[in-house]
Symmetry: C2
C-alpha cells in the first residue's frame, strides 16, 4: 500500500469515500443517509457530498416512497423526514458473450449483475471468422431488442473464446475455429460498441463464473478444467484470475506432444483411425460402448482418461489448488469424474477436491458478464465514474 | 482497497505516514527533515512527529556530522542548522538458513539486507532429524559469534528446506532427509529464538532470491526449477511467491509416477540398476560419459533430459511464466540448459526465456534472508514497529 499512497492524499480519500458509499448502496436496498453514515463510518457532511455527486452522475437516485417495512414498528420519526437513496442498477448494462466452436451466447445484465435476458445460437464449426463475427453482431442486436436495452447504455462488454488471447484482445493462437489465429477480435468488436470490449480465454472465464456463483464459491485457489479432447484450464489464485505472462496459462493440452505420438483423437479411437476432434457425438459413443462392456471401447476410454488425469495432475502439481472444477462436455459423461478423483488422490502430493461444474452451458458467458461487471466496478471506484463524461 | 479501508481512518493514515517516512529513509543515506518533507509529500509537523516516534523505537538516529558533500557547493545555510537523520540498519538483524540434504548454510544480515557473515557446513545425508537440528543450532551459534550479533537482536529467522511445508512450519512431506516428514520444524527452531521463525520450501526461496538479486530481477512471472533427479520448482506470480493452497505448488516431480514405470534414477541408469538418487557424482559421471561419446550413457542422458523437459513443460504450460530460471546441481552440467531451451521453444504455446540461476550455492539461504526481511518490513509498516515492545 505504501507504494501507492503518499501521506495525506485528499483526492484519494475522496475517491475511497465515494467507493465506500457506493459499495454500501450496491446491495440494492434503499437506505437512509443516517444508515449510510453508520455503514461507511464517514461523517454526515462527507456522505451528503458524496451522494450529491453520485446523483449528478446518475448512479444514485433519491427514493420518494421508502418501504414502510424498513421502519421499526411503533417508532415515529421526529423532525425532518429521512431521505432515502438507492443505487440505480439500471444506470447502465453489461454484456457477456461466448464465441464457441459450435455456438454463440449473449447475456445482458444490469449493474448489479441481474440477468435481463440471453440468447444462444448454434453455428457450424466450419464458419469462417467473418461469418462468425456477423452472427455475433446479429445475436447481440437480437438480445438488446428483446430486453429493450439501448446500445448506448452498455458500459462494458466481455467476450470468451477458445485460444490464447493477448491482453489487447488479439487471438494469438486459436486452432479450434477457422481464421481465429491472429484475429484482432477486440478491435473487430470494438467497432460495434462505444464501451470497452474485453476478450478472454473461455476456460479462464469459466473459472471466474464458477467462483462467482457456481461450484467454486468461497474458494480462492481454483483450477477449472475444460475437459474435452484437448483439455484447457483456467486458474484462480487468491480468487483472482491467473492469465500468465502471455495469457497462455492453463493451456495444458500441448503437454502430450512431448515425446508422445498420441493425440487425444487417437487415444479415443477404436478403429485405429483418429476420431474427428470436434465430433463430440463420436466420442460420447465410444464412452457409452465402453460402459456397455465393449472391450475395444474400454481400452480407448482408458487411454483417454489417462491423458485427462495426466494433464490435470500436471496442473495440480504446478499450482496446488484447493479445488478442481471439471466442466466442458466430457465432464458430463459418466465414468470421467470418479476415476479422475481417484487418480489425483493417488498421485498428487496434496490432492485437491474435485467437483463437477455447476453452471452448465452458460458458464463462459456468465464469466464474461462478471469480467464486464468487474471492469465497471473498477471504473466506479475511480475518480470519474462512467457516465460522468470521462469515458 | 475499499475492502480494507473505511473512510477517514486516521490511525491508518498515521501508519501510512510512518511507513512512507521510513521507506524514504531506508536507502541508507542521511537526509534532512526538509528532504523528507519533499520525498514523502507530508507536512513538516507530520514528519517531525513521525521521526520522533521512530527515534524512540530505535529505528532512526539523528546524525551529528552530516557529510558535507550532500550540500550544494557554494550554498550556505541560513537560520537554524538542518537536522540530519538516518535509518538504523543495525537496530536489528535477520538470519537466512538453508537445511539441505548434504549441507547447512546460515547467513546473517542487517535490516537493509547487507550480509554481515555466513557459514556453510557439509553434513551426511544419513543424519537423522535430531542430529541435523543440532548441527543447525551450532552453525547459527558460530555465525552469531563470528559476526558479533546478539541473539536478542534477531528480528526474524527464515529457513529453507526440501519438501512440502505447511504455513505453520510443519514438514508435511519431506522424503529427501531421514525423519523430515511430519517434523514440526517451525516449533523446534522457535525454541532457539525469541523472534518469528518462518519455514519455506527451498525451491520457493530460490525463486525469491533470484528475483531479489539474481537472474530474475525485474521479472514478475518466474518459475525457478531446482533441476536434480526429481525436479522441484518455486513460482512467482506478479513478483509474489505462489505457494499453492497447501504449500505444494511446483512439486512437479511426482508427474512421472502417472502411468509411467520410469523413475529418474532408472532413466539415468546405464547398467539397468537404478542409480542412488542422491549420488550426484554418479549422475554427473553418466552425463560426462555421454558427452565423451559413450552410447549407453547418451541414451540414459536423453531419457533424463526428456523427463526434465517434460516436467518443466508442464510447469510452463500451467503457469505461462515470463522466465524459467534453472538451478540445482543438474543446471551446472553441460548439455542440460540448451536442449531444455530448444524443446520448450518447440512444444510450449508461448515459450518463456530460459536462464541459468546466478546466485550459486547461497541461493536458498539468500531467499530465506529476503523472506525474513519481508517479515520485518511488514512489521515496520504496521502500527507498532518491532522493538517498541509489541513483539
Amino acid at each position: 500500500m505504501a507504494d501507492r499512497l503518499t501521506g495525506g492524499d485528499s483526492s484519494l480519500l475522496r475517491r475511497i469515500n465515494a467507493a465506500v458509499t457506493l459499495r454500501a448502496l450496491r446491495n440494492g436496498r434503499s437506505v437512509t443517509l443516517t444508515q449510510l453514515v453508520g455503514d461507511t463510518g464517514l461523517s454526515r457532511p462527507t456522505v451528503e457530498g458524496v451522494i450529491e455527486g453520485l446523483m449528478e452522475s446518475g448512479l444514485v437516485a433519491e427514493v420518494e416512497h421508502p418501504r414502510t417495512t424498513s421502519r421499526q414498528p411503533g417508532t415515529r420519526q421526529r423532525g425532518r423526514p429521512a431521505r432515502w437513496f438507492r443505487f440505480r442498477a439500471e444506470a447502465g448494462h453489461v454484456l457477456g458473450i461466448e464465441i464457441g466452436v459450435h455456438g454463440l451466447r449473449v447475456v445482458v445484465a444490469d449493474l448489479t449483475g441481474k440477468v435481463l435476458g440471453s440468447h444462444a445460437k448454434d453455428v457450424a464449426e466450419t464458419l469462417d471468422a467473418e461469418e462468425r463475427l456477423c452472427t455475433v453482431r446479429s445475436t447481440v442486436a437480437e438480445v438488446l431488442k428483446k430486453t429493450g436495452v439501448s446500445r448506448d447504455h452498455l458500459w462494458a462488454v466481455a467476450v470468451g473464446t477458445p485460444g490464447i488471447v493477448d491482453r489487447d484482445g488479439t487471438i494469438r493462437l486459436g486452432t479450434a475455429m477457422p481464421g481465429w489465429t491472429g484475429l484482432d477480435l477486440g478491435a473487430r468488436l470494438r467497432r460495434s460498441f462505444s464501451c470497452p470490449v474485453l476478450i478472454e480465454n473461455d476456460a479462464n472465464l469459466a473459472a471466474i463464473a464458477e467462483h462467482w456463483q457456481g461450484a467454486a464459491v468461497g474458494k480462492g485457489d481454483v483450477v477449472f478444467v475444460m475437459a474435452g479432447l484437448s483439455p484447457g484450464a483456467g486458474s484462480l489464485i487468491n480468487g483472482r484470475l491467473h492469465r500468465g505472462f502471455g495469457g497462455a496459462a492453463g493451456e495444458i493440452g500441448a503437454l502430450h506432444l512431448l515425446g508422445q505420438e498420441a493425440t487425444p483423437e487417437r487415444l479415443l479411437s477404436t478403429t485405429g483411425k483418429p476420431l474427428d476432434p470436434l465430433d463430440e457425438a463420436a466420442v460420447a459413443r465410444v464412452l457409452r460402448l465402453a460402459r456397455e462392456g465393449d472391450e475395444v471401447a474400454q481400452v480407448a476410454t482408458d487411454r483417454f482418461l489417462r491423458r485427462l488425469v495426466h494433464d490435470v495432475a500436471a496442473l495440480v502439481l504446478a499450482l496446488d489448488p484447493e479445488l478442481v472444477v471439471v466442466g466442458g462436455w466430457a465432464a458430463g459423461l459418466d465414468g470421467v469424474l470418479e476415476p479422475l478423483r481417484e487418480q489425483l488422490a493417488l498421485y498428487c502430493l496434496r490432492a485437491p477436491e474435485v467437483a463437477p461444474a455447476s453452471l452448465g452451458e452458460e458458464v463462459v458467458a456468465m464469466g464474461a458478464l462478471r469480467v464486464a461487471l468487474d471492469h465497471v466496478e473498477e471504473q466506479l471506484f475511480a475518480v470519474d465514474p462512467p457516465g460522468s463524461g470521462a469515458r
